[in-house]
Symmetry: C2
């Protein structure tokens, strides 16, 4: 335990020191580092596959289930997509150093904002080894140092990827300690990491709800978290029927396991009989299990009863809860009560209702006439995302490079003193 | 205890409900409420003075010291400045609802940001009763609900001001519960408030370091805090001597008790002998006690020795520590080690060094050729400030209306589905 403490403190000190160097690195150097890492990952494909084979073997021996093993597995395509991801980050503009709103004040000083890195970002993640490359790339480009703590099941894969990162950094003269992979499987390391306020500026947990809840409950370092996505699509009675059916169908069925998938469909009672029979048939053809309120069940045969628990559940599965509401106000009340604050959409052709929904619904993404499935960093043009925040402070919704930065005030004078 | 729990939960529920109404209030209504509150405060001057007299009387009986009693006291001028402050907030633009960066994406959807209130803001403060009006005004204008917890010594004054706020809100049809003053002096109420994650979105402690540290350590709700201001002014060897002496003098002596006052002066050794003898004379004429490094003491007679503790101390008093450094790098190393991250200034005529200092110093305000005393919300043009954040996340430096808001993504489509 003392050894672990010492080890973690040493990691923190190294990362803090590297963070100062990263903060002043210019964009050309950072981009060359990203390219060098991408090349190393490509060149060492067979080494990465070997390391991953070790993890897969012990995963199988430890009885990991098929889904976990799938997330853990690296193959040629996945390795290629890691290096491609790094090359995409090269193409993104560097947010660091941008000065905005620089204005003269009556005193004569100029005051503005400068965008700067957060400092040291701690990332705690589970099985997918590609997070090692993605997270390192995003932190590097945004001028931060990163402390990475991957899942123990991916130990060898993560080590092999982290070696590419370190060598790439060194190649261009950046400190290899800008990306520190914690190389102990001791679970207590996480407990220490999330309390190292002196060395870590923000913790980003990436993984299941269990991990995120535990980290949030115990961390004293601020946490950027994405808990769950109980997303709603509301079909207003001024909706276009054909468009709405297509969008509501897509929002549920385009993928099931993603946090931006619609889990509850709200339908205004004025339009329910024109929408639900046809839409429910489509869902069923796709194999979606339907659970509804009494009014829904009266309108569509064979729909199971939705309980109060259903309204608050992120299914991540081909299950949909459906509720018929009086209109916009009841829909927004339902959302206010049950939403996790991730993403909600209204489908309507009515200008005033669209405007109210956009203003009044308090979620990280609010949409009009679009599938909730659009809520992610790539679709929004952030280029890449390190997570999706359902918190309100600092950053909300998909978090890209800018979310890994903060702003400081800059003041320019010419010998100005305060009167 | 159960009663207190129930009471606080009821307050939280009321504030949360009111927050939804405040979020959709238009700027005209919010401004009318601010004007109504200002008028009530003016009209009830004698009532406020009476309430304050009760607090002053028990403060004296309880042996509060002169400084505390001074902060507690209301008089005609202070009451006038409360209502003037509210009228100034009327003049500020409403940040809520601003849509920015609305761009078309390749998929055809439009994606942008909308600025929205945080929700419920909890403010914990000490003796000054004017905070009740200031904080209520800023939260109201930014579309938030506020839960206020003032110091027990200002109980009657705060109640009387809060009554004006509530009546002003009601007068224009806004929920009076948008500003809830906790009307128990039970200290445990603070402990509950800072853990009511369900009802409170952010806690802002305003007061001494003791209060802020306790709140930060125990809160599970995110805290926007301003801890202390160990601010530095660095005089580079390419500084203009006359300007630098004037700025460094102002930065220390314009006021002593403020967090943006310079506490440590760093001087490059190449210019120290042209600066320090004259500047130290000026400080001494003003009654400032000087503590310095060995080199400073060799250059200027009668300077006491600065200990390692001095470098990390916010004096809030006519004391200054002085260190002679090799140059820019050593100055920035010193700042990195001892600064509280509040405000630092470089005095130089050298372009490249000014540019490096601006980029590399990691504090909430970084200045060139200006007095650190400028670091506040009024001087920066925020109009008013609810505090100065030395945190990195969410908001940094003086926090005005915008710091009391967050951004959500808005997505506009026309039946768009994800492929």
């Amino acid at each position: 335990m003392t050894n672990l403490n010492e080890y973690m403190t040493a990691v923190g000190e190294r990362a803090r020191r590297a963070a100062r160097q990263m903060a002043r690195a210019d964009v050309g150097t950072k981009n060359r580092a990203l390219m060098a890492i991408a090349e190393l990952i490509d060149a060492r494909q067979s080494m990465l596959l070997e390391a991953n084979a070790k993890d897969m073997k012990s995963g199988q021996a430890n009885g990991l289930d098929a889904a976990l093993l799938d997330r853990l597995e690296l193959n040629e395509a996945r390795i290629q997509s890691m290096s491609d991801g790094l090359r995409q980050i090269v193409a993104l503009p560097d947010p660091v150093g941008e000065i905005s709103d620089l204005n003269y004040r009556p005193s004569g000083i100029q005051v503005g904002h400068m965008r700067v890195p957060l400092g040291v970002v701690g990332i705690i993640y589970e099985s997918r080894p590609n997070v090692t490359a993605d997270a390192a790339g995003l932190c590097l480009k945004s001028g931060n140092a990163a402390i990475l703590r991957g899942g123990s099941e991916a130990f060898h894969s993560n080590q092999a990827i982290a070696l590419c990162v370190k060598e790439g950094l060194e190649k261009v003269g950046l400190p290899s300690e800008a990306v520190c992979l914690i190389d102990t499987v001791d679970r207590e390391a996480v407990g220490l990491l999330i309390r190292m306020k002196e060395y870590v500026d923000v913790i980003i947990p990436r993984g299941g709800v269990g991990l995120i809840k535990r980290v949030s409950a115990e961390a004293t370092v601020p946490v950027l978290k994405h808990l769950d996505g109980v997303c709603h699509t509301y079909i207003d009675d001024h909706a276009d029927i054909k468009k709405s059916i297509a969008v509501a169908f897509n929002a549920k069925t385009q993928r099931y396991g993603t946090c931006n998938t619609t889990e509850t469909l709200l339908v205004s009672k004025g339009i329910a009989d024109q929408i639900l029979p046809e839409l429910c048939d489509l869902y069923r053809e796709e194999g979606v299990e339907l659970r509804g309120c009494d009014a829904t069940r009266a309108l569509v045969e064979g729909v199971a009863t939705a309980t109060d628990e259903d309204w608050g559940t992120e299914y991540l599965a081909p299950i949909l809860s459906i509720r018929i509401v009086e209109g916009l106000d009841e829909a927004m009340d339902h959302i206010s009560q049950y939403s996790s604050g991730h993403t909600e959409a209204i489908l309507t052709e009515d200008y005033a209702r669209a405007r109210r929904f956009l203003r009044e619904v308090d979620s990280s993404s609010v949409m009009v006439n679009a599938s909730t499935r659009f809520a992610d960093g790539f679709e929004y043009g952030l280029g890449a995302e390190i997570g999706i925040s359902t918190d309100k402070l600092h950053v909300r919704g998909p978090v890209g490079l800018e979310g890994l930065t903060t702003q400081k005030f800059v003041v320019l004078g010419d010998g100005h003193i305060r009167q």
